[in-house]
Point group: C2
Chain length 201, copies 2
């Protein structure tokens, strides 16, 4: 099976509906998803941005909240809530996601983090929130949280950010096909899957 | 017939494929398009930007040129060319578009300007380029170019920018439905038309 990579950032609003719908949509195309958590912070920092572009640009930010809510409603997600603060600090969630042993648990955990963040407005920086999510998924949280803060995971996450930069990623979600074509944005998931399918046939 | 507004900026890359495909797509939905040229420059200036965000953000700019070329190819447009300078100064083209007497000639003129700019890499700031386009469309260019530089047209264009800001527009293309829902981006044209159709039924 060829790789189809889903690059997502836990603080990213548009990554939330993408995470919610990607598995079902990929299945209909016969494509298996590789979940790739990363951090946008270091990439935005190089642009001189200290926060989300949606905070920096008022009109764009206002549109985005309206549009994400509309996009979530369209695919049957609960009413969107804006977490405080926004953007959330996504470091812990990204480290935990990378510590999980397989795609399936990473996907389940990631979807649950997005739900906590954007459907319940929970603070995903809080280790108790993350531990609660892991426990509900039947994953022993104490051991995992310990490993998530270890140097091995930190190195893995740094390598993810480096690889994202090498691929030319500048926003999330970004879909990377087998032949390293990039498609940026939740609204390009269909195009990306079509590209992947055409190549792999 | 309800209004479906297409807000476009002549310097905007993604407005080019949107202008090329909007009429046919709108027709299939039974929707009539209202062509609304405006300038993004004054809006970007308020954000402290002196040029296109695609010039300011290297990775995003590189992706954009690749993605626009890909999007143009998909709908059968000629190979994309990057005009020099980019972005082009779009003031003259916007003024001329606003001076044209009806939607049909505005649509034809606008599509021709985009083709000159992005398929032939012509400089659309050049009055000779604009005059050539008008002449090919059978529109007497001398009189029109004179009126385009008059105070009435300048006021019209300023009013367009003010209205764009009031609508919350921050980029191009933007589609505004009958009930003033905004959809930003060439890749959201289908969603916008679906919205318009659902409301008007």
């Amino acid at each position: 099976m060829h790789r189809f990579e889903f690059w997502y950032e836990f603080a990213s609003t548009y990554s939330y509906p993408a995470a919610a719908r990607i598995e079902e949509l990929a299945n209909t195309h016969g494509v298996t998803v590789s979940w790739q958590p990363f951090l946008l912070g270091p990439i935005f920092k190089q642009l001189g941005w200290s926060t989300s572009p949606f905070n920096l640009q008022h009109a764009k930010g206002r549109y985005m909240w309206h549009d994400v809510a509309r996009s979530c409603q369209l695919i049957g997600l609960p009413p969107l809530k804006k977490p405080v603060p926004f953007p959330q600090n996504s470091l812990l969630a990204a480290r935990v996601a990378l510590t999980l042993p397989d795609e399936s648990s990473r996907a389940q955990f990631s979807r649950s983090v997005y739900s906590a963040e954007f459907a319940e407005a929970s603070n995903i920086e809080d280790p108790n929130v993350i531990a609660g999510i892991l426990d509900r998924l039947g994953i022993p949280s104490a051991d995992l949280l310990k490993r998530a803060s270890g140097s091995e995971t930190k190195d893995l996450l740094r390598a993810q950010v480096t690889r994202a930069e090498e691929l030319g990623i500048f926003g999330a979600p970004t879909f990377v096909t087998f032949d390293e074509e990039l498609f940026w944005g939740n609204d390009r998931l269909d195009d990306a899957l079509k590209w992947e399918t055409n190549i792999c046939q």
